[in-house]
Amino acid sequence: MRSHGIQFVPDLKKVELTPLFRGRPEISDDITVEEINYASKICPTDAIITDEFAIDLGKCVFCKECAFALPDKIRFTNDYKIATNKRSNLIIKKGDSAVDFDDNAVRKEIKKVFKNSLKLRQVSAGGDNSCEMELNAAGNVNFDMGRYGIEFVASPRHADGIVITGPITGNMAEALQICYDAVPSPKIIILTGTDAISGGIFNDSKALNRSFLDKYPVDLYVPGNPAHPLSFINGILELIGR
């Protein structure tokens, strides 16, 4: 069988990305009030929480401008395991060295029902097409998430949940709702990319309608601009307990 090709990435949990990859940031313990205020002024998406000395990965667009301004105090590591099931876990405080995943907060039926097979319907709602391309890449020959039974499907009727990209435009709000309603229960919601999680750079645009997110619990947040396929796949693996 060996002559039939190779698995490009044998272990999706142990990939080492290029050192420059902008993944999980780290804030030095000795950052001062002045410095965090300065970083907050630079930040294009108000991702810096000054009184907590923290970066909110749900808002961060990974431009690294704060780290260029304060290279000794903020750095972006190449850690792509930044997806989590709790919104508050996306807040990286000074000294933090991992994004925690809260296993206890996962709904019981998720692991039971979806562990060996998870079919997802993707809904692009104002996405800039980079997250969509990364989600496609997650299934391609390189990352091959299909090896875990994780796949995108065409019909919401065949899906176990939806993956939302983009800040959710007003013009897409109704279609998103219809799609979600068409997915049979139990079902999950995954927000992929910073735009989906917080609105990102579009946060205060009058063209958005994010009321959908007020109605339903979110099962997984995958930050990124766009979210890297490895962030997405590893996040799902944690969620379904693989």
């Binding site: 490009f8 990305l17 290029t18 420059l20 990859f21 902008r22 630079i42 294009p44 998406t45 667009v61 990974f62 431009c63 690294k64 401008e65 260029f68 972006f76 319907r121 993707q122 809904v123 692009s124 709602a125 104002g126 996405g127 800039d128 097409n129 980079s130 997250c131 969509e132 391309m133 990364e134 989600l135 496609n136 890449a137 391609n140 020959v141 390189n142 995108f152 065409a154 983009g166 800040p167 435009t169 007003g170 013009n171 897409m172 109704e174 279609a175 799609c179 735009d195 990102g200 750079i201 579009f202 205060d204 645009s205 009058k206 063209a207 958005l208 601009n225 766009p226 890297h228």
Partner: protein
């Protein structure tokens, strides 16, 4: 037409005084557009309206590919003005621009054959027009049926609605309704005053063209602020742009193969595209090049290590891509699905103002890199790659040939880069923009011509920012391509163009 009717700008040149743009009576304005666009080597790159001093100001920019100039002129109307004679019946390429003005300001363009909303912007004039009551073209007949597709499509792609009118399997007419991706991005350029915010916005106009749009924005800011950049930076930007072109063309070759069930072509091209975008990632930390392009400089200057990485990937991936495409485009089972399918003729492309690679598939040499050169393309001449049959095969071959061309261009740019000893430049965010200025910036992205333009007030604040993605012109070409085709050929027609929804919807 006298020269005083317009002012002449060059792509990415210093801005002009906004107040010096000639204001013409509408009949003169109309005649000028018509007379300029009679020539095939000219096309409309921007035509839009804005409110200024209780008046509606209409700005028109027409590019001349021979003289490398852009003619700019304007018309003013009272804000209560509701009707103007449409230019579209005489110059079809104006159709979408007039639709946009109609949607945003309620101007009724008399005689426009297709005066419909473009994207349902949140600031549209008539809020009673909503996504659900789009006025689709209809044909009454018992023999015909309609097929509606979208906004959510089968694959992982952006939303848009396609309405086909079919006679059996044959498509008589396709109407494309867009706007689902509308994020109000143009107004955000005004609302967000932090220069970094504007950079992030520019990278998010269309994520598959992050480098192209970020470059158009950086050039525009550099024009407005009088920032000059070194040859070194210009070369690095061109290399980034060509890497983006190369990656997308390989990825779209994979997509074309997917739709005709040629699995080898699909999976190998997907793997090859990965190698290119991973090279971009090892250069700047992002697979789409986000963060790489900034006004005045870059935090990611090229270095020997990155250059070696690029050279290696061009060698390996280049060789494999060429071998694979030689195979793809010699397989009868693939060719029979591509050949003669989804033809857009040269005449049609000329009429509707198609730009970029889609125009070049009918021999129209429209390529901003050569006609309105920017960055290092001013010194390094690019010859437009041309194919002629205007069908899916031509658009596939166009990608194949342009990918090969980009490999050659990058190699030659690298050897130019090696001769230079310029110091790297850092991004410039503390810029001062000229007051009362108008500037225009064009870039040949992988789809085609990207155009950003801006107007500033007396304090040097940007008061108007206009973005045009090539898709704005080219969606009409896709609608024409599927006429009289089998509906089952729609996917390959669509993939062969791979147009941007978010770039159109803004």
């Amino acid at each position: 037409m006298s020269k005083e009717s317009y002012i002449i700008l060059k792509n990415n040149s210093l801005p002009v005084d906004f107040r010096e743009i000639p204001v013409l009576e509408y009949t003169m304005f109309y005649d000028l557009v018509k007379s300029l666009l009679i020539e095939e080597f000219r096309h409309s790159v921007a035509y839009y309206a804005l409110e200024s001093d209780q008046k509606l100001k209409f700005i028109c920019c027409i590019a001349d590919d021979y003289s490398h100039e852009i003619f700019v002129f304007s018309h003013e109307a009272d804000i209560k003005e509701h009707s103007l004679k449409s230019i579209t019946p005489e110059c079809l390429q104006i159709q979408n621009f007039e639709r946009e003005i109609y949607e945003n300001f309620g101007i009724n363009f008399e005689g426009h054959p297709w005066l419909k909303p473009v994207r349902y912007s949140y600031h549209r004039a008539d809020k009673s027009k909503v996504m659900d009551n789009y006025p689709f073209f209809e044909i009454e007949s018992e023999e015909l049926h309609e097929v509606g597709v979208g906004p959510i499509h089968a694959g992982v792609i952006e939303p848009g609605h396609f309405r086909f009118i079919c006679n059996g399997e044959n498509v008589l007419h396709l109407e494309i309704q867009l706007g689902y991706q509308h994020r109000g991005i143009e107004n955000l350029f005004l609302e967000k005053e932090n220069p970094i915010q504007r950079c992030i916005l520019s990278e998010s106009i269309s994520g598959d063209t992050a480098i192209g749009h970020a470059l158009a924005h950086a050039q525009l800011i550099e024009s407005l602020a009088g920032i000059t950049v070194s040859n070194r930076l210009q070369i690095e930007r061109c290399i980034a742009l060509e890497l983006e072109r190369l990656a997308v063309h390989i990825g779209d070759t994979a997509a074309l193969c997917t739709d005709v069930a040629h699995q080898l072509g699909q999976v190998v091209c997907e793997a090859l595209r990965t190698t290119i975008i991973n090279t971009t990632q090892s250069w700047c930390g992002n697979r789409f090049g986000k963060g790489l392009i900034r006004p005045g400089g870059s935090y990611y200057p090229l270095n020997e290590t990155v250059i070696k990485g690029i050279e290696k990937v061009l060698e390996n991936t280049g060789k494999r891509f060429m071998k694979l495409t030689d195979l793809i485009y010699s397989l009868p089972s693939v060719l029979s699905r591509f050949d003669g399918i989804g033809i857009v003729t040269k005449e049609q492309n000329q009429k509707i103002g198609t730009v970029g690679m889609a125009a070049r598939t009918t021999g129209i040499p429209r390529d901003i890199r050569s006609s309105h050169p920017f960055q290092y393309y001013q010194s390094y001449k690019v010859e437009p790659v041309l194919t002629h049959s205007g069908d899916v095969l031509a658009r596939g071959m166009q990608r194949n040939m342009e990918a090969r061309d980009s490999i050659k261009i990058i190699r030659e740019l690298i050897s130019e880069w090696k001769k230079l000893s310029d110091e790297p430049q850092k991004p410039e965010y503390n810029y001062h923009i000229k007051p009362n200025a108008f500037a225009i910036s064009m870039v040949e992205g992988w789809r085609g011509e990207i155009c950003h333009s801006a107007i500033t007030d007396e304090k040097g604040e940007i008061i108007h920012y206009k973005i045009k993605d090539p898709s704005f012109h080219n969606w009409m070409a896709l609608a024409l391509a599927v006429r009289n085709q089998e509906i089952s050929d729609f996917p390959i027609c669509n993939k062969s163009f791979n147009l941007s929804y978010c770039g159109n919807d803004l």
